[in-house]
Symmetry: none
Subunit: 403 residues, 2 copies
């Protein structure tokens, strides 16, 4: 809990928590984590995509690893546990092993992924995709609001983006990936359980929509001659909401919206906004995204607005491996807790890691299901249960028998 508090102080602005990928505060948080890793007996470094990587060798050097961890970036005005709790819990587990002088028949790597939330560049899972070797180098040309590309930001951070290949792992090198994370939903609280085992991570589709109308004097252009990009965007926002309400398991969100030029007496000529659609069922999600795009087309045509819909990212739903779920469930039960399986509405780095290794996740209960919000809250007791389950899981981890 103290380490989550300490990391939360590395923020863009005081009085809240915002820490985007490759920012000065991101560097400070990474340095704190590197220190804790070394204290726990790990070799620690920052890789070429900005992930913090700690390695605790097994009974002999160079063994394949059990990979643990979570992410170190945050959304804007974030809570203190989303991401960070998984990193500090994994380090604590290694610390306990190291203090007991224990080496296991596999290495342990703890990852503090650099970009999971995707706040700065609008692209997510940069760190875990690079690790899985699935990050298209073209993505590094994506630019932030200030016009800086990922490649430029990496260079400014002192990293060599052309060494991206060095980050990628081979399949046999990672025996499994297990992530502890707060639930970010209300299920465990409703069930009265401190932890739960994730069955699958919902898929998502993300779009960036640009609407171009015509800027004009707010006093002189009559309503019927306007091509107001913000009024068009407002209709689109409500269309996203209406379509997402058609199915209980579907959610859709417009999280960012920027209107230009943005003066009180000027009709907005251009608006850009994002759409995020999620569902456990890929078909449901794909259909909803198609309906949203078709509504944007209809609204733009009716309002004589030019529109552009850019597919930022789409991820299919990611199933957790049964053999890992079973081992996690035994670790949960060993703490005297009923083992409940539940899906994850949020995306996680496991969605990328699953391309090179089987994945598992342990959820820790959070208050009111609130997340991505300063009111994010967990109890010390639940954090303790989570860490003990994780340690139990690590100590008894048995790799899957290769097919």
């Amino acid at each position: 809990m103290q380490r989550c508090d300490a990391l939360a102080r590395h923020s863009e602005l005081p009085g809240g928590l915002t820490r985007v990928f490759l920012s000065p505060e991101f560097r400070a948080a990474s340095e704190a984590v590197l220190g804790w890793m070394r204290e726990a007996g790990m070799q620690a470094r920052v890789d070429a995509i900005g992930n913090v990587v700690g390695r605790y060798e097994g009974s002999r050097p160079g063994l394949p690893c059990l990979m643990l961890g979570s992410h170190l970036d945050t959304v804007r005005d974030a809570g203190k546990y989303d991401g960070m709790l998984g990193v500090v819990s994994a380090i604590d587990c290694v610390h306990a092993l190291n203090a007991a002088g224990r080496r296991l028949p596999f290495a342990i790597e703890v990852l503090g992924f650099g970009d999971e939330e995707g706040v700065r560049f609008g692209t997510t899972l940069l760190g875990s995709r690079a690790l899985a070797g699935t990050l298209d180098p073209k993505v590094l040309e994506t630019r932030d609001a200030a016009g800086k590309s990922i490649a430029e930001a990496l260079r400014a951070f002192g990293l060599q983006s052309d060494h991206l290949g060095s980050v990628a792992r081979r399949k046999g090198d990672v025996l499994a990936y297990a992530e502890l994370h707060i639930e970010q939903g209300p299920v465990l609280e409703a069930e009265g359980l401190p932890v739960g085992v994730v069955s699958a991570i919902n898929g998502f589709t993300r779009l960036r929509v640009t609407l171009r109308g015509e800027a004009g004097h707010a006093g002189t252009v009559p309503m019927n001659l306007r091509r107001d990009a913000l009024a068009a965007a407002a209709e689109c926002v409500l269309a996203v909401e209406n379509i997402s309400r058609t199915h209980r398991e579907l959610v859709g969100t417009v999280g960012r919206l920027e209107a230009r030029p943005g003066a009180i007496n000027v009709i907005p000529g251009e608006v850009q906004f994002t759409v995020d659609v999620r569902a456990p069922d890929d078909r449901l999600r794909i259909q909803a995204a198609a309906s949203i795009e078709s509504e944007i087309r209809r609204i733009s045509r009716e309002r004589k607005i030019q529109y552009d819909v850019e597919a930022l990212q789409a991820f299919g739903s990611s199933t957790c491996a049964l053999w890992l779920m079973e081992q996690l469930e035994r670790a949960v039960q060993a703490q005297g807790v009923r083992a409940l399986r539940l899906p994850s509405g949020a995306g996680h780095d496991g969605m990328a890691i699953k391309d090179i290794a089987d994945i598992a996740m342990l959820f820790v209960r959070c208050k009111g299901g609130i997340s991505h919000n300063p009111a994010e809250s967990i109890t010390e007791a639940d954090a303790g249960t989570g860490a003990r389950v994780l340690l139990h899981f690590i100590e008894r981890f048995a790799p899957a028998i290769p097919a």
Copy 2:
């Protein structure tokens, strides 16, 4: 057209047009205008607030005047016609009278107002307010970005700001004020008309609205548990549009909108936006603003959103005098042009002059309604029609019978 081009060369920076009140380029433009006034047979001078004033006596010296003109200052990166066209057209009309040796039963004064846009000091209509005797001398303490007060700038320009009283006119001295100006809107272009008669300079109401819902994770919060501030704001934007569409002369604009925290995967918890409502009829505008506020209240209640509406600024409408509109309309029809009445969405010096004299305005069509922009454009033919209408109006001007 040549004189507008010539004035446009008096600019702060080459390659664009910026000419703020009491700047060296403002002096150069004023001197050019003084020269043209004298060429046209006028006595010309700069008054104590920096207005350029030309007087063409009537059939005998000292008669009350018909006042014409517009302003000589510009916005940043301005067009060549906003303001200047009205000054040079009025001078041209006097030139025609003088060339024909005609004297009218009233004097003509042409004003090149010094500060209409308010770019340098953030205060508008300095010249016309001083002329109307309504300029509070305290305003002269207002400072520009460099810390120089208006009073200091006037002194540096060689003017005596303590002589401000000498600028003010008495009610009977000015028979009427008529200003030719580019439309700055698209109505005349849409109607296929070179000129139009202004019915009123619209009043405006400006609001700042804040909506507070609850931020949350875009993947984990079901649609029916959300309090999305952006979805609520979208409904408000459409309400502003719908209410503003209920009357032909009403306009309403949401020009700025900011959604926080503004991340692709976070439900927006807070949105702030501005509303700008204008109408020629104050009651219509005040009712529209009240309807907008009531819709914001309804939407917020339905969505369990907290709202706050802050009144930023409100200005009553300035009606053009019917007897002047009728005389202008006859002058328009005399050119074979259908006389269309239209309101002015933008503010003008007449808003200040109306305190000492009835006012009228003639609008000249501009391309695409574009203004406050280097792309501001008019045709030579339309400028010619505007000047001929103004001359016809002057030649047949009949003062209102005093009540």
